[in-house]
């Protein structure tokens, strides 16, 4: 899985040939130790397995093993109508059901050239940015958990997440599996008083972020454990197809909200935070800074939210013409895309998800080689994976 040698032309392969070997060091004979971390391991964020080969404590080889949560999402989707897959997309990346809905709705709308009313677009932006807050805050919580700060930061994150989940529940009826968007708009309008409450939550969020940053950002242990650990070079990141905060932490300015300007994102001025080194610390900081930008977008979207219908003129039976389409958005973890092939019937002929978590995970070995096994846990935490999306 090493990409370095194959993608960067002219560079030396960084890894020695593999295999079980005896290492002689000043008369001491040592063996490489093979450790299987997972699928039940507190650090792996779900049912993910890393087969690591250790020389002492240093990782010399890492083989990720997936498939423990392969739930046949794509196969099931090919067996039901287009809209029937909408609730299943919730369960892909179960932190971010709203953005998953949006990506799928976007692909469907592209297929039949459906106009989405203005109000629906704004509400989508609000929901997506709230989702980004939820995802990043949980990521930071879990990440610091992996660093050994058991409990406290994660509990803080959970507390803030609950407030946003309340908003989701009020609007859509469910805390996690919102199933809120439809081809051409939204399932239902925002309930009365929702905006006021949302404003309260968004206005209080920066104070929480201040507190959180004060606790974590200059914490000495975090600095030592994350800086210069798991450096991802921009060339490798681009060649491996990394997207999202992980790519931006390596210093590549690529944000689909700017590049594609889907929805109404071109109306909001916001900055794209970027890292310089591409280490775990940058990946952690990029997410914290992104939350601040999300709050900016949220404020503006709430101020400008127009009145009007929330559903476009969607056909009662969704039957797109034969053809293929790729719809993508900037999910909290990276580029989330849905590739649909239609044969003219009411069921997709092929349904494929481009999961950002899986693609971002492909460089895991390159990041971990040469680091201690404890750092591998931190690096995995900074990649931000959700197994529902990796295995689908």
């Amino acid at each position: 899985m090493t990409m370095e040698s194959s993608v960067v032309a002219g560079s030396e392969p960084t890894v020695e040939p593999r295999g079980f070997e005896l290492i002689e060091r000043e008369g001491l004979e040592t063996n490489l130790l093979e450790v299987s971390m997972g699928p039940h391991h507190p650090s792996t964020h779900g049912v993910f397995r890393m087969d690591v080969k250790l020389d002492g404590e240093t990782v010399t080889e890492l083989r990720p093993v997936f498939g423990y949560l392969h739930r046949n999402h794509e196969k099931l989707a090919e067996d039901m109508g287009y809209l029937g897959s909408m609730p299943f997309t919730d369960r892909l990346d179960y932190f971010c059901s709203m953005t998953n809905n949006w990506a799928y709705a976007l692909a469907g709308e592209k297929m039949i050239d459906l106009e989405v009313p203005e109000r629906a677009e704004y509400v989508r932006v609000i929901m997506a940015e709230l989702t980004r807050l939820v995802n990043h805050i949980m990521l930071v919580g879990f990440f610091v958990n992996d660093l050994g700060a058991l409990g406290t930061p994660l509990l803080y994150a959970l507390r803030e997440r609950e407030k946003i989940l309340d908003l989701f529940e009020w609007a859509s009826g469910a805390r996690m599996m919102c199933n809120y968007m439809r081809f051409g708009g939204l399932r239902n309008d925002l309930p009365e008083g929702w905006l006021t409450k949302c404003r309260e939550v968004v206005d209080a969020f920066p104070y929480f972020l201040d507190e959180y940053e004060k606790l974590l950002v200059e914490n000495e242990i975090i600095l030592v454990r994350t800086q210069n650990v798991g450096v991802l070079k921009p060339e490798l990141a681009i060649n491996a197809g990394i997207t999202g905060p992980m790519l931006r932490a390596s210093g590549v300015n690529y944000d689909l909200r700017k590049v594609d300007a889907y929805g109404v994102y071109d109306r909001f001025p916001f900055r794209v935070p970027m890292g310089e080194v591409g280490d775990c610390y940058d990946r952690f900081m990029v997410r914290i800074l992104e939350m601040r930008e999300s709050i900016k977008i949220l404020r503006q979207a709430m101020d400008e939210l127009p009145e009007g219908p929330i559903m476009g003129e969607a056909p009662r039976v969704f039957k797109p013409p034969a053809g293929e389409i790729y719809g993508r958005i900037e999910g909290p973890k990276g580029e989330l895309g849905f590739y649909l092939v239609s044969d003219g019937t009411a069921k997709p002929y092929r349904y494929r998800v481009r999961p950002p978590s899986l693609v971002n995970l492909t460089v895991l070995e390159d990041l971990c080689l040469g680091h201690k096994v404890a750092d591998a846990v931190v690096i995995l935490g900074s990649v931000d994976i959700v197994l529902g999306e990796v295995d689908r």
Binding site: P39, H40, H41, P42, G46, V47, G67, Y68, L69, H70, R71, N72, H73, K75, L76, D79, P87, F88, R91, Y94, F95, L154, L155, L158, R159, R161, E162, R175, M176, M177, L387, G388
Partner: protein, 230 residues
Amino acid sequence: MEDPSKSTTSEAHTLSDSVDLDDATRSEMEKAGVIVSSVDWLYNWARSGSVWPLQFGLACCAIEMICSAGSRYDIARFGSEVFRPSPRQADLLIVSGTVTKKMAPQVVRIFNQMPEPKYVIAMGACAISGGPFKQGYNVLKGIDRYIPVDVYIPGCPPRPEAVLHSLMTLQKGIRRQRTLGKGSNNPAYVEGNREYPVPSFSGKDLDPPYNPEVWQPPEKRPNMPEDGCP
């Protein structure tokens, strides 16, 4: 745990329930600082108040399980905030999410590794029956085919309140169990450690498709395939 209706022991919730004493004697003794109770009552009170779950998340439901440990729902009020990463230190296995055929052997193995007395909660539609992914080729249609489940929580995902309710239900069940006493039909400890055979892949399905000791396919209906999976 057995069906409570079959249990011969009455539910011993309070001190006075557990030992047969008339009130006069009891108050006399309490004045002298003697409290009479059964060892069972004390044992079960302690056991049910410190059920340590295994820190084991499978899918979406795991997030709600984590939420129930968060400050709003606070599972610590019920004595279960100590999520143990190792099965050797845990009393309760919360199967929180979809069990795929690749994962099922590990779940059974983890159950086998837990010490007695051990309990299982099947959380969410997926763990109960396969849930929304039941039609999938790779999804186990209910973890109760391989290990005995004490409490089921319906929902997709169940709310954290439901997780707490299931825990309280489990505690009620624990308090009905007997730790001492011969001939009880609802014992807390069984001889040795309950271990169930770990399924393995053979061809296209898990082998065996279910453990006949803990699960039997429902009554045979016409068109029902051999393995009981409609």
